[in-house]
Assembly symmetry: C2
Homo-oligomer: 583 residues x 2
């Protein structure tokens, strides 16, 4: 199960796709330094992490008493991961981090998760918890927890879901009773807690949503608590075991080495984060980071599937080419439909990567205080989460298909990518939740202003492409068409949502998929512009030619799906409503 980090494509994206092409998102860090860091991570992942994925899938995480036992080689691998400082890559230098910009962090997340989604989930959750504490923790809390989390010595989790409260967090029942010493006694059951229990790190810092005694009902009565697995003394050493117990691990379709815990809190000592009743708001900080990262996981598993499929297609000899170019059976990569599948996989993967890295640039600009960038980032994050993960289902499925019967055999390894990917459009907010977020909070709330600004940016790229060669113009043609479908759909949604919310929200996922498709194509359009310039300068010509060819393929094979999405939204709302009456 080999894997090579796609450093060249990643660096192309980091260099050319920040919101302002002058390199705003590099945060003053030299591209060469970033490349060196990512290359180092890439080599570590190829050597140490990628070989874990099969082993981990076969062994799975197992509960022994109340301890989650991970597949054996995970411990040593995690130790190396932490020692080499990879957990610290995106975090502030003040707490021991490397302080790399978010585009590089996204690339690191991709590389790690392409190697093994199950392994990658532990650092991913820690990143989210660090982000939440950075923004909402007290100075004392930051002091106490951050450095050890950023070093990878401790990990973090998010505890939201309960049996009756999945997408609907207003139904959370977990309780937090104030105690005499100013802490809280947290009680209740949390389910689906990723890395909720494990022995990779000395301590686990749970961030838990719970309800204080007189809190209002619903989502506005939730508070956020730090509940460490082991209490932490003033000097930073570990104290007693807290009253949180893992009572079960789930048997899952995929990411089987990642322990998904049911946690019982039985009067566990919790520390309030920020103010009471603002827990959900704080948790959204963590969720935004986690949602973005899950979108990147979609790109990651897609890239892994691409590499395996390409290799197999080059090796497997079967049937004569249809063009009669040889009388002998040829490697299947010579067959047009295999090429079509591989190109679809590659185009979707590169499109998703471009979207994610560009979005990282907007997130960094937002952090620097730009409210325009903040709005654009908020608009793009649900696209990264839902579009890249939904597409990863298609890419990993095609990966199986390219392998034919061998793809269905677990030992081949590509069936695992298909299984692993299936959680991505579900956790951290399902695709429907992302679509509601996009339509409700990011589009309707500002009357479509950000959405129109987005369309304007796409249009600028179209115009630049129209001045280019035939390939650039081919991309511009479909980009322009898709952007217009986006605008028509947007106008319809703005018009309809108030008077017929069911009709509007019945089109929310098609709208998200249309917008995600357009946003990815937009970034590939920008790639065409950058690659054309490089080609003129005779730089990396094979790579640049491939970037452009992939973008044209994307425009003509994938972006054209926007036509159907647009009809589903506008025309399809009535038939959806009519047919749903029969339920």
């Amino acid at each position: 199960m080999t894997y090579q980090a796609p450093i060249r494509d990643i660096m192309f994206n980091i260099e050319h796709l920040p919101p302002e092409p002058e390199g705003a998102s590099t945060g003053g860090i030299d591209l060469a330094d970033m490349e060196a860091a990512l290359d180092g991570l890439g080599r570590f992942c190829s050597d140490v992490i990628a070989p874990l994925s099969r082993v981990g899938d076969e062994a799975g995480a197992r509960l022994k008493g109340a301890e989650a036992v991970l597949p054996e080689p995970y411990s040593q691998a995690y130790e190396q991961f932490a020692e080499m400082g990879w957990q610290s890559l995106p975090h502030p230098e003040k707490f021991g981090g490397m302080g790399l910009p978010r585009a590089a962090a996204a690339a690191a997340t991709e590389i790690l998760n392409a190697s093994d989604l199950s392994f990658g989930l532990c650092p991913l959750l820690t990143d989210g918890a660090v982000e939440a504490l950075l923004l909402t923790g007290s100075d004392a809390q930051k002091q106490k927890y951050l450095e050890r989390m950023i070093s990878g010595q401790w990990s973090g989790t998010m505890n939201l879901t309960e049996p009756q409260a999945g997408s609907d967090l207003g139904r959370v029942r977990c309780k937090a009773e104030p105690t005499a010493d100013g802490t809280f006694a947290v009680s209740g059951t949390k389910i689906f807690i990723t890395y909720g229990e494990h022995g990779l790190t000395e301590n686990i810092i749970h961030l838990v949503l719970a309800r204080t005694p007189n809190a209002p009902a619903g989502p506005k009565g939730l508070s956020l608590f730090i509940v460490p697995k082991f209490l932490v003394e003033e000097d930073g050493t570990l104290g007693g075991r807290n009253a949180v117990t893992c009572v079960s691990l789930e048997h899952k379709l995929g990411v089987r080495a990642s322990p998904t815990a049911v946690l019982e809190y039985d009067g566990a000592t919790g520390f309030l984060v920020g103010e009471e009743n603002r827990g959900l708001e704080y948790m959204f900080v963590m969720m935004r980071a986690a949602r973005f990262a899950v979108g990147v996981q979609g790109v990651a598993v897609s890239e892994r599937a691409c590499q395996h499929a390409l290799q197999y297609a080059q090796d497997r000899v079967q049937s004569r080419p249809v063009d009669g170019s040889t009388k002998d059976a040829a490697p299947i990569i010579r067959h047009p439909d295999v090429q079509r599948m591989l190109l679809r996989m590659r185009a979707l993967t590169e499109g998703g990567r471009a979207l994610a890295i560009a979005t990282a640039g907007w997130l960094d600009m937002a952090k620097q205080g730009s409210s325009d960038a903040e709005e654009m980032a908020e608009f793009l994050v649900p696209l990264v989460k839902a579009f890249c993960t939904e597409r990863s289902l298609e890419v990993t499925s095609l990966g199986v298909q390219v392998h034919g019967g061998m793809g269905f055999i677990e030992e081949t390894g590509v069936a695992q990518f298909y299984r692993d990917a299936r959680i991505l459009p579900i956790y951290e907010g399902t695709t429907a939740i992302q679509a509601n977020d996009l339509l409700g909070r990011k589009v309707l709330r500002d009357g479509g202003a950000t959405a129109r600004r987005f369309a304007g940016l796409v249009q600028e790229t179209e115009q630049s492409l129209q001045g280019g060669n035939a390939q650039a113009q081919a991309v511009a043609k479909r980009l322009s068409e898709a952007r217009q479908m986006f605008e028509v759909s947007l106008a319809w949604l703005l018009e309809t949502a108030g008077k017929d919310p069911n009709a509007a929200y019945g089109g929310s996922v098609p709208f998200l998929m249309l917008t995600g498709n357009l946003a990815a194509a937009w970034q590939l359009g920008r790639s065409v512009l950058a690659a054309s310039t490089k080609l003129e300068q005779n730089e990396n010509t094979a790579f640049m030619a491939q970037k452009i060819a992939t973008a044209v393929f994307y425009a003509q094979h994938i972006l054209v799906e926007c036509g159907a999405e647009h009809l589903r939204i506008t025309e399809g709302s009535t038939s959806l409503g009519d047919a749903a009456v029969n339920f």
Copy 2:
């Protein structure tokens, strides 16, 4: 894991979708009798087979020495299945069969496979072997084998694949040496043999492709042999064990209770079927039956996924409806996107079923000697195989999505449908193989004549729909548009294939998916006509209204995808070719 056979929809299809609506395909058998038979099978499957699927998936098939051991309850279930005579349903009365028409047989295949794909594969392969022997076996061979296969006492297999010969059967190396007594000594390794070894039946009749000593190289040097696991004496009793050994079973992504065997033939006694070197031709008979049946498996697993998702959506309470109709959290079926997912699942399932049952009618007409019907059946079978199975991936994936996080937990059971379905677009000829078959043999070979006749039939339905109410006209509108895209694509393919076969075959799968989509929508259009008449007669009004609403939904949400397929074929061929250069 409950399951209810959708008898009403099945009977609606059988009654209204034969090629000639006067009921040509019922073969003189009363609809009420057919319904009684299918209803009986449905009850047996709900009670006995459906509960096997989870058990079978968990236990899997295991090799013990050279014997494949199936999950324990399979034996008794199979015994009951055979005793009740279900294996005999589609086969000629002359050999003990019930002689039901193919539409009813397709329905029976659906019901059995919806209950458990792993179980259903054994009878499915036996059906194919019976079909091959009926058409190509000698009288003595028919006498010897057919009755016991049709009774379910013995099962059948097809042995095609070898490690180096998957889609490319010309590479088969398995040898058959003539012996003094007129039999052949068959030697070689066959892989991916479904139910190649098991103890459910007393004997297994392998049909094996092998090469006689002086046979020409390639596909035209293959002969077909009967190689029984136990030799059969003249009086029909079992003789000695033949030299065929199961050396391994595959560990698979899905259909885990179905034993997928590696078989070693070591001078096993084989009996030539028909003439030497015509084996592949004979095997195609078996393959056509098996391909059609695998398409029906796609409908089956889709139906099962639909039933589970609908049930869960009615039971699971989460979040307030977006229309503000209640202040409390509601069953998730009240949320528009859940409705959209469920309707998509239902529309794809009903569309696939309609296509399969209509195709069964053409197959029956062909059997009665109509060469027009033969051509149409040949055109439709690859659509049933590839379209219904590819769509089953989408339906089972949506089934997981409707369940949210619970869908990813194996105990819920719906992840299994997602895993099981993944083999369907691969075995019995991948989607690309079906698309090559469609384009090469069924479209180009007759210069598009059958394809144009197909389009003409669609157009007739459009015209009838145009005379109907607003819903019928809505279906007609999209049907007409899709049919025109089919015609434009067809013209382009006919024009291009000769001069640029790579360009044409790069569009073969999009063309198949376009054509399958159109063919399913055509049948749903015919359903609208039939249901409208019933509605006017006040018959089963709720069911008929739902049939119509589902068809409109299909037209506006699924049929609209033909636009993208058409662009992929015509415009997209260049970008495919350009991008593929970089491999």
